[in-house]
Symmetry: C2
Subunit: 896 residues, 2 copies
């Protein structure tokens, strides 16, 4: 049987259904599903994603038979609706919209009012008795078709429209520039506009605007499919890590009109509040407008509850739809609807984007409402949502006066949280400034899909126009990124790079603060603090902890951070770096520097003796904070040159303080210089050369442990040797470690259970894991270095070429940045091999990960699947790791 | 049955035999074998190497029953010889000598004349009617026992002896200082000396010198076994890569005396000339001396042929021994003998060390004499011996006048070849100066085992004393290192750091030239050239080529080197680095620098266009030299910052020449700086970022190939992409390579068979070799980088810690320097995996190696065993690779 490329829906029945997202896209599957459950959906048909896939795999050709299917379904639609496309008396109009299996808001093209031409526009005018409406529909169609299908710059069309509106302004001087609304333009002006738009079209395409509706249709479908590979769509997929889709489906749907007068309107609503998750009906609409007006945020809409006052019946019908959809989809839905002359149509429904706060509340509430299980609730939460919960808020201790004094403007609170930073006016600047380590707030009149990169980079987003469902709001919400929209008082001057409210001017680079929970904008950088966690968070994390089998540890170096990590749910320390402690005070820094400058063992040992009490104190603090939990302490890792000054002045100063000739200090430091420090004299290599460093550190650890044990604190030290490449090397150092540890315990008269293990962070160690496991009591994968060495890629230098390697438009060699998400194909293979080999030697070998991947959900899933005992990550990623571990357990079952 | 720890030999029969080297050591097995074949060997017994092994594995304790066995065998010896140890009337004296399974000349301890004490010395005096001899034997024993077994500094004893000799000098003023010989000292003086030596002994040990022969014996055995782990022995084993030995055996043998007057003597001889390999009897001896006098080179000996005149019967007997031994052992032998009052004793025989030249001649001659097969001959040649053949000689074009004018002194030609360099006077300096890249000649009065490191480092060795069998000569010969010994005219002043002959003084750092083939020393750095290869070399290499299955290619970058490599037997190029060509002339350097400084593609392309004709010309030259052989060309590899100047002055100069503002040049160069350039923006990553570089290089290759093809030169270009980490990355670049290559062939109207392959030099590429093999037409393992990344060890920086990792006395983690000999345990494992995976995808995938390991024998063997098609190495190592490949094929059979 030939492949079916087109699926029809309408008249209460659909060929597709909700489960066919991959094939019909989210929108197409939704329309089919909604049709099937009896909602008032306009009729139409969906061209499957397989057509798009075929198109790109076959040199931009369509599959055989596809075109015939489209015509057959168009005929069926015409028959059902009782109108014909392009009919000069009573034309059928359709929309052509994209829709992939995953939502990509605003990323791909839409064409409305297709079927209009110079003759049918008059038929529509007659039929609706509203020539202004018909002409307006036609001008919209010409603009959309011209810019989308033919690639004519949108501005060319807008300029013509603005010119006509401008003329009005000149005539009626009392009207402020830019305040003439589209709806104010009259029939004559529209007629003139249409002529001018068609001229623009001809100028660019060297052809007349197409009058044949079938030509219009195929051009529009081409445009939608072409938009799948447009740069902005590709960027969006990369940022959102959307992969594995066939392509976009194309939905051709009977047009209904929200702009047919005062009993018409169009809107977007959510079945619950997408910001708080509260069970209230939430949304807004524009009366006498088409959908694109809402999404683009060009006009500021009215609130949904106002609809109850204007059209109570429609409002009631809409609330019934709301409840039916939530029961059906068992999740909060985002609904697009249009009211055409008092009749409600549901155009689209999909799972609604929500703020992190809302995500938790909705998930937990739905469990309470018995609509979903705890498992389903857990699987619905993403790492970004957890992260979002921890976004800062403005310090409530700031006096009201101060706030008031600094208030600059107020807009619509689109995504909660607060952000402070320097103002930039373009997405490019947002990316560039952020790359330089600055915090920025992106301020735009409105955002568009081209801005996604800069929006992602910015700490917060502020727009002058648009509502809660505008592009800026929807995109920012997905990231849990603070966002204020529709701040209409802002006068933004892109050329002068400033924004003003009245006489107050804020220039590029000035610092502001925005509050996404209230919509307030402050003309100063205010102090931000961490928010209270919602109750739903605690419930959900408890469920997660019940489910997961992976332990979650943390990477911390101080007692303070250790306590914080415990609060966030850490079950131990997977990586305590001892070297940071050397910098804590001047006395310590001097001692470590004296140790390094030492040219003989005696001097080195004396300097180490000075450091011992400091390290002991730090370790004791950490053991205390981690009472009853394991603490993995890594011995010194970085090359020694990281501890000493490199300018001549600083070296002279150091020489003076150490009472050593300058030339000696300089000579020693010069000798420490390395061509490739990453692969140099560091890690356990330092302890092979200077075993006295190991002696001091192990002594400090075990003395601290003894001290704590005597105070009834349960200590489980795990001493970890970094950068090991060979079993014999580990044996030498492990023997020495045990010698020191055992002698400290003897001195202290205390017995402590401690482990000696190794980081697996050099490929050779992974390859020889069977031999290394004979000596090591645990493995901890140092995936940062392991990634650098396995890929031959210095993280410090990769900035120059890694973007090309990750960018699917360029080389696209790697799925994602291997320093953020574990390179499972390459490094992962090595890790699996190492675990297999290690456990062949030592069946119960404890295995963990302590690279930064420990807090990345995909990497946590990898760890779950490959028999890790724990992952260890920064404290603020501990909750993410807890959830990810639970999700992995739910998806794949418990692993041994 | 209990283990047998002691093996007896004597009276024409031995318990051991020649094949028991591992157990009895080379010397012990030799003594047993010689006894069995009826040679006049003194009787004795051997303590096995298992005792030494047990000793070090059991906390320095001897095995049970061992001591009883020694006593039993001592009794048997006493019975056979008819004398008793320590007998005051007619004492048995024995020697105690070390002897491991592999020869370590001078590395371990020997004690002679054991059994003498205050009473037995008089018995010996009476029995031999030579009290002076007996006293001399006793003083030797005290010195050896005291310094060796008790660790008393030898100098303390020597000072006493010197003091007595000095007194003589003062008395007889006509005698030059230092010219009083040991043999000049009389009985009274010896008696006094013995008393003084015993005082020295007591002062240090707080005990009297032991009078009990059994105590002397156990002390001496302890000393010999202790010497196995002495630093010099451990160093020697490391340098010589001797591993896997159990330990040393100990030989206790009846003493015979070469110093019993003018019918006594002792000597060392070789069954063929160890320098040329000629079939002549070669050696020297000292009359009225003990063996240690010969080996230490303290006195200059007489030539063996002189013995024929002095004692014709003994000389005849010795020539019979010579011929019997060569027939028996089928190789040139090194024989130690002693004549005791007209009676010949053979003390030791072993395979003789020989010069590289001699090694070839002897091996080929023995084949001609049908004593050995071609296979045996091939297996007897080592890589060092091939290397030695290529050592330089003094340019024969230098006029005789000039040579004469520069002649400084003449000594004994110990190891042929010539060397020029700066004079240093200590082994430590030799190592230090060499590490700084200087060429040095080590000048010593005599060398000792402590000097081995410095001897290895030096280009040549010159000593004032010693003969052809002195320590310096034997050790240098093993390495094929130019050596002149016994240059008695030299007056060396270690304190002033100079050496003089008459009024001519050469100071430390002055350059000299030594000729190891003539013994001449020149006071100037003379021009050295490469020697003629001997006929035997050609025969042997032809046999090797018949046998081996591995192809041997070479790493060269210029037509000149390519021609040279062909002469040395290369069968193609395995690695042609294209970047070196950029530096060849100023025009090229400017073009590459302009390319790098370029900030846009256009400028970059223009600069590349300038480079194209140069590269094309180079490639054409290489193709011509390699007519009919494959040529693997690697595209640009090093990071761009290697091509540009880094000082401000040079950058300014460059800016001026390029006509570009300095700040722009500086900014661009600054941006190229990398933290870890090894892991940075280099290799194929450059072509991902700047594909125009690939375009130029591929075009240059294919245009050159077309040009050659048109001239009927058979070209087989293999284009190689470096630093690949992923199949997709390779696919992108391979596609582009083929696109350019195919379009050049079309332009040129020529059809050329070319391959596109990759280096496997990043661990990830090895791990994903199955995927990469889908794209690559060949793999070439870049083991330099693969080693750096797999071990996480930068070759540039490893100097700081790698010595500890290779030093078995310290960490001893690695068997050898992984940058010289492939780390088979780690990197080798990865390579095997990559080949398996690669060949699973592509059964006939061509696999080669192009790191520096390609010329290392152990690594070549690895390649043979693991199915490589070829190895590629520097031209001068091509002959070594050819031989090693043959040896591997002989040892392990042909591999698929």
């Amino acid at each position: 049987m030939a492949k079916k490329y087109v699926y029809f829906f309408g008249g209460g029945k659909a060929e597709g259904k909700g489960g066919m997202k991959e094939l019909l896209g989210g929108k197409g599957a939704g329309l089919a599903e909604m049709t099937n459950i009896g909602l008032p959906v306009p009729a139409g048909f969906t061209i499957t994603t397989e057509v798009c896939d075929y198109f790109y795999k076959n040199n931009r050709k369509y599959p055989q038979g596809y075109s015939f299917e489209v015509k057959k379904n168009l005929a069926r639609l015409e028959k059902l609706v009782g109108k014909k496309l392009g009919d000069p008396d009573d034309p059928l109009l359709v929309s052509v919209r994209s829709g992939a299996a995953r939502s990509m808001p605003g990323m791909m093209e839409t064409i409305l009012n297709l079927g209009l031409n110079d003759r049918s526009v008059e038929g529509l005018a007659m039929k609706t008795s509203n020539r202004r409406f018909a002409l307006d529909a036609y001008r919209r169609f010409i603009i959309m078709y011209g810019s989308t299908a033919m690639g004519i710059p949108r501005k060319k069309f807008d300029d013509e429209f603005d010119d006509i509106k401008e003329r009005r302004t000149k005539v009626r001087l009392n009207i402020r520039k830019g305040t003439v609304l589209d709806t104010d333009v009259n029939e004559q002006e529209l007629e003139e506009l249409i002529t001018r738009l068609k001229n623009v079209y001809k100028e660019h395409t060297k052809k007349d605007f197409p009058q044949d509706p079938l030509e219009q249709l195929s051009g529009s479908v081409d445009a939608v499919i072409g938009s799948w590979m447009a740069e902005k769509a590709v960027t969006y997929r990369r940022v959102e890590k959307i992969t594995g889709l066939l392509g976009t489906a194309v939905n051709i749907v009977q047009m209904v009109f929200g702009n047919m007068g005062d009993t018409s309107g169009t809107g977007v609503c959510f079945t619950r509040d997408p910001n708080t998750g509260e069970d209230i009906f939430y949304g807004d609409l524009l009366m006498n407008a088409q959908g694109e007006d809402v999404v683009a945020g060009i006009r500021t809409p009215i609130h949904l509850s106002d609809l109850g006052k204007i059209m109570p019946n429609i409002y009631k019908q809409l609330t019934q739809v709301r409840s039916r959809l939530e029961k059906h989809y068992k999740d909060m839905q985002d609904i697009e609807f249009t009211i055409e002359e008092g009749k409600l149509y549901i155009l689209q429904c999909r799972t609604g984007k929500r703020s992190p706060m809302a995500a938790f509340k909705i998930a937990v509430d739905l469990v309470k409402e018995r609509l979903i299980t705890k498992k389903e609730a857990l699987l619905r939460i993403s790492d970004k949502e957890i992260e979002g919960l921890f976004y800062p808020v403005i310090d409530p201790k700031i006096p009201l006066d101060e706030l008031k004094h600094n208030l600059f403007a107020t807009g619509i609170a689109a995504v909660p949280g607060a952000a402070a930073g320097s103002v930039v006016f373009t997405a490019k600047d947002a990316e560039a400034w952020t790359a330089q380590g600055k915090k920025v707030i992106l301020v735009r009149k409105e955002t568009s899909p081209e801005d996604v990169g800069g929006m992602h980079a910015a700490k917060g987003i502020l727009t002058a126009t648009g509502g809660k469902t505008s592009h800026a709001a929807v995109v920012a919400r997905g990231w849990g990124k603070c966002c204020v929209v529709g701040c209409e008082d802002l006068a933004i001057d892109y050329d002068a790079k400033n924004v003003s409210v009245g006489n107050t001017i804020i220039k590029e680079g000035d610092e502001i603060t925005i509050n996404g929970s209230t919509g307030e904008v402050f003309k100063a950088p205010l102090n931000l603090i961490k928010p209270e966690l919602p109750e739903a968070y605690n419930s959900l994390m408890t469920w997660a902890d019940d489910v997961r089998t992976l332990k979650i540890r943390t990477n911390v170096d101080t007692p303070y951070d250790a306590e914080n990590a415990i609060r966030l749910g850490a079950e131990g320390i997977g990586l305590c770096r001892t070297e940071h402690m050397f910098f804590d005070t001047d006395v310590r820094r001097m001692a470590i520097q004296r140790m390094i400058i030492a040219e003989d063992e005696e001097t080195r040992k004396r300097a180490l003796d000075e450091l011992l009490p400091f390290q002991r104190k730090d370790f004791a603090g950490i053991f205390r904070a981690m009472d009853n939990k394991p603490v993995t302490i890594r011995l010194i890792d970085p090359p020694l040159h990281e501890f000493v000054p490199h300018t001549e002045n600083d070296q002279k100063h150091l020489a003076q303080r150490l009472g050593i000739p300058f030339h000696q200090v300089k000579r020693r430091i010069d000798r420490l210089h390395e061509a490739n420090p990453m692969l140099g004299h560091r890690g356990s290599r330092l302890c092979i050369t200077y075993p006295e460093i190991l002696d001091m550190q192990v002594r400090a650890i075990m003395e601290a442990a003894s001290e704590c044990k005597k105070k009834n604190i349960a200590v489980f030290p795990e001493i970890m040797l970094p950068l090991i490449i060979d079993a014999k090397e580990l044996q030498i150092l492990a023997d020495r470690t045990r010698l020191v540890a055992d002698s400290v315990m003897k001195e202290q008269g205390v017995k402590i259970k401690y482990l000696v293990g190794t980081m697996i962070e050099v490929p050779r160690a992974a390859l020889l894991a069977d031999q290394i496991a004979k000596v090591a009591e645990f493995f901890s994968f140092g995936t940062n270095d392991l990634t650098q060495m396995t890929l031959g890629m210095s993280r410090d230098d990769a900035g120059r070429f890694l973007p090309d390697y990750v960018d699917e438009k360029k080389a696209g060699v790697l799925k994602s940045d291997p320093f953020q998400s574990l390179d499972q194909d390459g490094v992962g293979l090595l890790i699996k091999m190492a675990i297999d080999k290690g456990r062949k030697t030592k069946k119960d070998l404890k295995v963990g990960i302590c690279g930064e991947h420990g807090g990345d959900p995909a990497s946590v899933e990898f760890c779950h699947l490959n028999g890790f005992n724990y992952v260890s990550c920064s404290p603020f990623r501990v909750p993410i790791a807890r959830l990810s571990a639970a999700q992995a357990a739910l998806k794949f079952g418990k692993k041994k």
